[in-house]
């Protein structure tokens, strides 16, 4: 695993893996789309709105997975001081923010026909909103600190503090909702998943995962190249 930590090795291995990841993503998403939009029936209770689940739930899963990867990379960056870990964390954040936004928007669009409102303050949606702000703060911190190493460490600390916090936020909003019976009835998990719905959901989730991995690796490669360019430019101007 740590052999990948060498940037050159990383470029080589990711270069080989990328076409496969990208192709898998495209195929999985296309098949999932076909199944979800054309071949699966409307749900008994929710009608055709159940199809929103096929883009909402995978986005939410990726949003959480991205944060997990970001936090793990942050730990490695803080403990092992490996620059590649720092780049990995930095690269994951904008993607995570995007998928969180997609989850929130599609969740709203699903919520309106389901529960009558574009927004409800239940634990899941609220913690996703907080997650979105955590991503924004993380990205802002990276952009604000000029020194790369300092920025990486500061952002890593923030990522870890945020990880602990978002769990507590979810718990606290859950607790809040038990006081106000009205909202807590709403469950955003959707219907019991029958197989005809499970296939498009899982395929789309895998497709989104491969797409995330593709974009993540490309972003890390871009960071590595950018840093190399900067070093080369610095050497040029030093002459």
């Amino acid at each position: 695993m740590f052999e990948l930590a060498n940037p050159k090795r990383f470029m080589d291995v990711s270069g080989i893996a990328l076409p496969w990841l990208a192709a898998s993503a495209a195929v999985l998403i296309a098949v999932a789309l076909g199944l979800g939009l054309f071949l699966s029936p409307p749900d008994y209770q929710q009608g055709d709105t159940v199809r929103i689940m096929f883009v909402h739930v995978p986005a939410a899963w990726i949003a959480m997975m991205a944060y997990g990867l970001m936090a793990a990379a942050s730990i490695v960056g803080l403990v092992n001081r490996h620059p590649l870990a720092d780049l990995a964390a930095k690269s994951a954040a904008p993607l995570g923010a995007l998928f969180t936004a997609l989850a929130l928007i599609t969740g709203s669009l699903w919520g309106k026909p389901m529960w009558g409102a574009f927004w409800v303050w239940d634990a899941r949606l609220t913690s996703f909103l907080i997650l979105f702000f955590l991503y924004l703060g993380y990205i802002a911190l990276w952009n604000a600190i000029e020194d790369d190493v300092r920025a990486a460490r500061a952002a890593a600390v923030l990522a870890l503090v945020g990880a602990v916090d978002v769990v507590i936020v979810k718990f606290s909003v859950d607790w809040w909702n038990t006081l106000h019976q009205g909202e807590s009835i709403f469950r955003s998990s959707g219907p019991l998943i029958a197989p005809v719905f499970l296939w498009p959901l899982l395929l789309m989730a895998f497709g989104y995962t491969f797409l995330f991995l593709t974009l993540w690796l490309v972003r890390i490669r871009t960071e590595i190249l950018t840093r190399r360019c900067r070093t080369l430019l610095a050497r040029e101007t030093a002459r």
Binding site: R51, V55, L98, L102, V218, T222
Partner: protein, 52 residues
């Protein structure tokens, strides 16, 4: 066919959900690819015009 587009009356919700999702993903792909291509181009220029 029109029944498909009508999505059982929920078209106003289903299609924007898919639309936003794919627009968002397309923008992400586009931006990611563009910055990678730029970095690669700059790298190529530096390596060619640079030292040996």
């Amino acid at each position: 066919m029109t029944q498909f587009f009508a999505m059982g009356g929920y078209a106003a919700f289903v299609w924007p959900a898919y639309g936003v999702s794919f627009a968002g993903l397309a923008i992400a792909i586009g931006l990611t690819w563009r910055s990678y291509a730029k970095a690669k181009a700059l790298m190529g220029k530096l390596e060619k015009g640079g030292d040996s």
